[in-house]
């Protein structure tokens, strides 16, 4: 019928160009899909595993390396970590449980874990995993996330040498992870391998921090409760407050903030840095602080800061804890079911139990270790009119009743005056009264009032008994010689 018209049935495809566009977009999508598949097939860890195989085969031979399982490796311990968490560090750290890969010729990441005898046998990998000691983000499989480097949203990074360098630790070995040791070893002291924490605990006992702070559920209330200081959120630390410097014994605004001071020293903006500055000079952070400057050395400051960060309330099953009874006691004190009392630390020095099994031991229940308190030998000879034995007792009380928090004897002024020779300066009854009821004395006694004005810090009533006061007086008398 039609001449050169097309048949009426055919329709014109006006939008044929859409087909071309579909093809072009399709090719782009195919490329994207290819990239997605490539990325999934080549995760970061595969690279490290290939490298490990190469290095390890050279060092210990193909046969031994063939026995090592490759792929995603994990340590899963439901009671310690939770039902859906696992430590996947061993995916890259393939050499940790392979003997023979020690030494500087093996990159640190692939090396055999140090201290298999003495440390690893007491803390077997399959019972502890890795992050409970080393920190880091479990489940992750990239270096950046697993180590929770800066920028990753995880509060507890791996304690690497880089991190230690930032805080100017003078150490080649890993020491910051002693913070985590203290999660389970909180009530131990002299623990082998925890030199920094041990030092900090000794200092804590020597300086009697508990006279002003509640620590382990017990202590004074002049300073804040430090029992779970490590759980204090970083949001609670205002690093934009002014930083003070001490001029002529008085704190004076430096003109810059705590954050700026951290920056000046090259310290990270962190709670860890805050504690460093605070231990160095408490009044630089809080100008009205009555906390004395104990003149800690750099290492002592680092140690004490580590101790602060280690005090956390964690849900660690009791058979992992050393001295679980003491943790229980702390909980009972918190719940008010037991009255606050001082929890003594138990020394692990030279009484560490021997283990006969070296591998895959079940976590051992901690044993209470009795330690003899060594009595100090008093200085020789007689001295006129001083009851040496009483003075001996008094010296001990001078420490345990909190006097050393503010006073030295012959060590210079601290918060309160140096008490060397005080028994020559003041009469006995005055001294006894000051010990027994300093609050009343500072209100009514003219000498005490003047001293309060001069030192500006009220002397707290430590609840000393009359017998104890006598002993302390005797000690002060003996020390005056």
């Amino acid at each position: 019928m039609a001449e050169n018209k097309k048949p009426a049935n055919v329709f014109e495809d006006k939008y044929w160009k859409d087909s071309i566009l579909i093809y072009i977009v399709g090719i782009v999508l195919a490329i994207f899909t290819g990239i997605v598949i490539y990325r999934t097939a080549n995760p970061e860890w595969k690279k490290y595993q290939k490298e490990f195989v190469k290095i390890a085969e050279k060092k210990i031979g193909k046969e031994k390396v063939a026995k090592i399982d490759l792929g995603i490796r994990q340590i899963w311990n439901k009671e310690l970590m939770g039902p859906n968490t696992a430590d996947r560090c061993v995916t890259c750290h393939l050499g940790v449980d392979v003997p023979g890969l020690e030494g500087d010729d093996v990159p640190v990441v692939f090396r055999t874990h140090p201290n298999p005898d003495g440390l690893l046998d007491k803390h077997p990998l399959n019972k502890f995993g890795c992050t409970i000691c080393h920190g880091g983000l479990p489940n992750s499989l990239t270096v950046k996330e697993a180590h929770a480097e800066h920028g990753v949203r995880w509060l507890y990074p791996t304690y690497t040498r880089e991190l230690q360098k930032k805080y100017k630790f003078d150490e080649d070995r890993l020491v910051m992870l002693q913070i985590n040791c203290n999660y389970c070893h909180r009530f131990d002291k002299d623990v082998p391998g925890m030199d920094y924490i041990n030092l900090a605990k000794d200092l804590m006992i020597e300086k009697n921090c508990q006279s002003c702070h509640i620590i382990d559920g017990y202590g004074g209330n002049i300073g804040p409760n430090l029992t779970y200081e490590g759980d204090k959120s970083h949001e609670m630390f205002d690093i934009h407050a002014p930083y003070y410097v001490i001029k002529d014994g008085k704190p004076v605004e430096s003109g810059h903030t705590i954050a700026e001071e951290m920056k000046r020293r090259g310290l990270p903006y962190s709670v860890f840095s805050w504690h460093i500055l605070h231990f160095e000079e408490p009044r630089s952070i809080t100008p009205t602080s009555t906390m004395p400057n104990h003149g800690f050395s750099k290492d002592e400051i680092l140690a004490m800061t580590m101790l602060m960060m280690s005090w956390r309330k964690l849900d660690i099953p009791s058979h992992y804890l050393s001295n679980p009874g003491k943790y229980q006691l702390l909980r009972l004190m918190e719940e008010g079911r037991v009255k606050p009392q001082k929890i003594e630390y138990v020394s692990m020095a030279a009484t560490a139990p021997e283990t006969t099994s070296k591998v895959e031991g079940q976590a051992e229940t901690a044993e209470e270790v009795q330690v003899e308190e060594k009595a100090e030998k008093s200085a020789a000879a007689s001295s006129g009119g001083v009851d040496l034995k009483l003075a001996e007792k008094g010296k001990e009380l001078f420490g345990t009743r909190g006097c050393t928090a503010c006073h030295t004897v012959g060590g210079g002024k601290l918060v309160g005056p140096d008490l060397k020779g005080v028994t020559e300066r003041r009469d006995k009854q005055w001294i006894i009264n000051m010990i027994l009821k300093p609050d009343s004395m500072q209100q009514n006694d003219p000498i005490a009032k003047k001293l309060l004005e001069e030192y500006n810090v009220p002397m707290p009533n430590q609840g000393v008994t009359p017998e104890e006061a006598e002993a302390i007086y005797e000690y002060l008398k003996s020390a005056s010689k």
Partner: protein
């Protein structure tokens, strides 16, 4: 070979009709294609008219549904496990990172494009009937407003699920906004949270809402929304043909102003779907979905910011607390319920109060609608400004800082 190609033709002719008869039959003989009309007007096919934003929105919804279903096999809605299942997605599940990124990006884009779609429909007056006595497009606009609301709710219930700090505090604040409603506030909060505290009860409630309740509602509404377009005689711009024909006294011949939906419409819709997919894939390849620290009620991140599409709301919450000597009204109520409520209600009735002539139907920035368009544009710009301001100029403690001068917040180590 002959048999094979015959068989292939039998299977696929509805997608690629070879003549007018087949093209007309295609939409009645194919289940998937019954969705579409037989013919579609040239103007509604135009890229520059609608930008195909509705199709983009639906494509994104499709991507979200598919990735969402897969994610349901991999995520556990338990407060002890949720965060870690997300972490596993990022590292230990094959394509897990891709799945998560796709889902997250599609969600953000969907909120953006649904909003843009609404803006387009407003500026083109496409909620008007254009003189068609059988159409009721204002109703479809109202359905669309609800779709926008449910899209936002889907997003909101979704980002609680990772149970990280953002999730916990966003929900805490949201539930407290509910609490600020007078009289029934506490009870609303109790129902929303499934208890008096944000905990496992809340998580499972939001999970149920997110994976089945809200998607089902959205699916139903979207179906109705799209059916209404057909029932109202196509996109609003199609009314222009009838009006023009009436003016010129001409009769409308289908071939002059329409073409067959198959293949024109479905092919272009497929193209739009592929482009949407491509955009989501590209974003998934270059940017990872974030995750904050595990939920911890003992500290709130500083600053704690809502996702971008709620930043305008967060800014309002912060600045609308009314203090008079006699009473104080919580900004949570004013900025969280009153203002958004007024905006939503106004949005619903807008087509019913628009008195512009039929000629303005389906026309971009028709001069007779200058007032409406400016009003709408200003409101959108204010919301956009609030969003940008809250994003870049609000720092720690919601104080105002220059974007480059936010003070550092300390870490633990």
């Amino acid at each position: 070979m002959q048999k094979l190609s015959e068989w292939w033709r039998k299977l696929t002719w509805t997608f690629a009709p070879s003549n007018k008869v087949e093209a007309t039959k295609a939409v009645t003989r194919n289940f998937i294609l019954h969705w579409f009309p037989a013919r579609v007007t040239f103007r509604s096919m135009s890229w520059s008219y609608s930008w195909w934003l509705g199709t983009v929105s639906f494509s994104l919804f499709l991507i979200l549904t598919i990735t969402g279903i897969v994610l349901m096999f991999l995520y556990i809605p338990s407060v002890e496990r949720a965060y870690w299942t997300i972490k596993d997605l990022e590292h230990a599940v094959s394509f897990g990172w891709f799945l998560r990124n796709m889902h997250r990006w599609a969600a953000h884009l969907m909120v953006f494009f649904v909003t843009l779609h609404m803006v387009r429909v407003f500026f083109t007056g496409a909620f008007k009937n254009g003189g068609n006595p059988e159409a009721s497009r204002p109703l479809n606009w109202a359905v669309g407003m609800f779709l926008l609301l449910f899209t936002l709710l889907l997003s909101y219930t979704g980002y609680l699920l990772p149970w990280d700090q953002l999730a916990l505090w966003a929900i805490t604040i949201g539930a407290n906004i509910a609490k600020s409603v007078p009289l029934i506030g506490n009870y609303l909060h109790f129902l929303l949270a499934g208890g008096s505290q944000i905990d496992q009860n809340t998580l499972i409630r939001f999970y149920a809402l997110h994976v089945i309740v809200l998607p089902a509602i959205v699916l139903l509404l979207v179906s109705y929304h799209m059916w209404r377009v057909r029932r109202d005689g196509g996109l609003a711009v199609s009314e222009q043909y009838k009006m023009q024909a009436k003016k010129e006294g001409k009769r409308l011949v289908p071939d002059d102003y329409t073409t067959f939906a198959v293949p024109a419409l479905i092919r272009r819709a497929f193209l739009v779907f592929l482009i949407s997919l491509g955009a989501v894939m590209l974003l998934s390849l270059i940017s990872n979905a974030p995750l904050e620290e595990p939920a911890d009620p003992s500290w709130t991140p500083n600053p704690a910011k809502a996702p971008w599409y709620f930043l305008w709301l967060q800014e309002l919450l912060a600045i609308t607390t009314i203090r008079t000597p006699w009473f104080t009204i919580n900004g949570g109520f004013v900025g969280g319920i009153v203002i958004p409520g007024i905006l939503f209600l106004w949005g619903l009735i807008v087509p019913f109060i628009d008195k512009s002539p039929d000629e303005a139907t389906g026309v971009w920035f028709h001069p007779s609608r200058r007032l409406q368009n400016w009003t709408f544009a200003i409101i959108m710009l204010i919301l956009a400004f609030l969003t940008i301001f809250a994003m870049y100029f609000r720092g720690p403690s919601w104080n105002i800082y220059w974007p480059w001068a936010w003070p550092p917040v300390p870490h633990l180590f």
